[in-house]
C-alpha cells in the first residue's frame, strides 16, 4: 500500500486500540445493563489482536490489510460484535482495492452499512449499532456527493450524526440482540454497540484530521470539529455531553 495509506491505517489502529481500552469498562458497564456484559472486553481483546499484526499489515495492500483487520476481529472478538464489526469490515474491504480517497471511503462506508444491516437484520430504531452507522453513512454520503465537502469535513459531520444516533438509542426499547429480551427494562440505556461504533468513528476522524492537518496545519480535535455540526434536527441530542450524563437522564 502507499506510504500514506499505511501510515494512516496503522495510526487509526493505534488510536482505536487506545480508545477501546480506555472505554473498556464503560462499554462493559453499558452492556451489563442491557446485554451480557462482554462488549468492552471483547472489543479490547479484538483490537489488541489487530495491533499485534501491525508489522504484517504494513506490508499489505490497503484492501488486504483492512480485510485482515476484519478476519482478526471475527476470530478474536466473538459474540455479536465479532461478525458485525469483523464480517462487515471483511466484506467492505474490497472497495479499497484502489487505495483510499473520498470515493472509495464512501463506497467502503456504504458497503459496511449494507453488510451490517443484512447480517444483524436490524433497522434504524432497533437500538443497535445500526442507529449510529446509518446516520453516519448517510450524512457522509450527502456531505461528499451533494455538499462537495472535503472528506475530513464530511467525516466530522458523519461523526456528529453518529453521536446523535447514539443519543437516540437511549429512550428506545430494543428489537434485536440480547437487549430485546428485556423489553421496557432496556429503555433509558444507550446501546453499547452504537456507542463503541461512535468511539471508533471519533478515532477515525482524529486520524483523518491528523493526516490532513499535516498539509493545512489545523489543529482541530474531534470535539471541536463536531461542535460545528448541525444538530438542530434531532431532539435530545447534545453533542457536547460526556457519555455519563446522557445515561443518567435515562436512568431516573
Amino acid at each position: 500500500m502507499s506510504e500514506s495509506d499505511t501510515e494512516a491505517l496503522l495510526d487509526a489502529i493505534e488510536r482505536i486500540d487506545e480508545r477501546l481500552h480506555d472505554e473498556q469498562d464503560y462499554l462493559t458497564e453499558l452492556d451489563s445493563r442491557i446485554g451480557d456484559a462482554d462488549h468492552g472486553n471483547n472489543l479490547a481483546r479484538g483490537i489488541s489482536a489487530v495491533s499485534e499484526k501491525r508489522d504484517d499489515l504494513a506490508e499489505m495492500a490497503l484492501d488486504e490489510a483492512v480485510k485482515t483487520v476484519g478476519t482478526t476481529l471475527v476470530s478474536e472478538v466473538g459474540g455479536a460484535a465479532g461478525p458485525l464489526y469483523g464480517g462487515s469490515i471483511m466484506s467492505a474491504s474490497q472497495e479499497l482495492d484502489g487505495g483510499l480517497d473520498a470515493e472509495s471511503a464512501l463506497a467502503f462506508a456504504e458497503a459496511y452499512r449494507e453488510k451490517l444491516t443484512e447480517r444483524g437484520g436490524a433497522r434504524p430504531g432497533d437500538k443497535t449499532m445500526v442507529d449510529a452507522v446509518t446516520p453516519a453513512v448517510h450524512t457522509f454520503q450527502r456531505a461528499i456527493e451533494e455538499d462537495d465537502l472535503p472528506p475530513v469535513d464530511a467525516l466530522a459531520k458523519a461523526v456528529d450524526a453518529a453521536r446523535r444516533g447514539v443519543a437516540y438509542t437511549v429512550p428506545l426499547r430494543a428489537s434485536k440482540g440480547r437487549a430485546s429480551y428485556l423489553g421496557l427494562r432496556a429503555v433509558g440505556h444507550r446501546d453499547p454497540g452504537a456507542t463503541s461504533t461512535l468511539f471508533v468513528l471519533e478515532e477515525l476522524l482524529a486520524t483523518a484530521e491528523a493526516h490532513a492537518g499535516e498539509a493545512s496545519a489545523t489543529d482541530a480535535s474531534a470535539d471541536d470539529a463536531v461542535a460545528h455540526g448541525d444538530s438542530a434536527d434531532v431532539d435530545g441530542a447534545n453533542p457536547g455531553d460526556e457519555h455519563g450524563e446522557t445515561d443518567d437522564a435515562g436512568d431516573a
Partner: protein, 126 residues
C-alpha cells in the same frame, strides 16, 4: 448421511443437546460447538467453521443455533467454510432431535433435514 452441527453460547449446552439427540439417532454425525474464543459464554465463527468440517460426511450439514450472535457467527462460518451447509430456523434442542431422527432415515437430504428441524417450531408441550 447429512450431518448436524449444534451451536450454543455454552459448550456444555451444545454437548448436552447432542447427547440427547444421539440417544435417538446414534449413527448420525452430530457435532457440538459452544463458547467464545476465550472459553467463556459466547460463539466463535472459526470454531463453528471447524465444526462444519467435522460434521460433514459428504452430504452437507444442517446447523442449529441458540441465541442471536450464534446465528450471525454461524452464517459467517457457512460463508467462510467449503462445506455445503444450511441454518435451520428452529428451537435448538427440539429441532436437533427432530433433525437427527430424520437424518437417520435413508431418504434424508440436506433440505429435508432442515425442514424436519424447522417442524419443531410448531411443537406444543401442553
Amino acid at each position: 448421511m447429512v450431518g448436524l452441527l449444534v451451536v450454543s453460547h455454552s459448550g456444555k449446552a451444545a454437548a448436552g443437546i447432542v447427547e440427547i439427540a444421539a440417544e435417538m439417532a446414534s449413527d448420525v454425525s452430530l457435532v457440538a460447538v459452544g463458547g467464545d474464543p476465550d472459553g467463556g459464554i459466547g460463539t466463535d465463527a472459526d470454531a463453528i467453521a471447524a465444526g462444519l468440517d467435522e460434521a460433514d460426511d459428504g452430504e452437507g450439514v444442517v446447523v442449529l443455533v441458540d441465541l442471536g450472535s450464534a446465528t450471525m457467527n454461524a452464517e459467517l462460518a457457512v460463508e467462510m467454510a467449503e462445506t455445503d451447509a444450511v441454518l435451520a430456523d428452529a428451537p435448538v434442542l427440539e429441532g436437533t432431535v427432530n433433525a437427527a431422527v430424520h437424518a437417520a432415515g435413508s431418504k434424508a437430504t440436506l433440505d429435508s433435514t432442515r425442514d424436519a428441524a424447522e417442524e419443531a417450531r410448531g411443537m406444543s408441550k401442553l
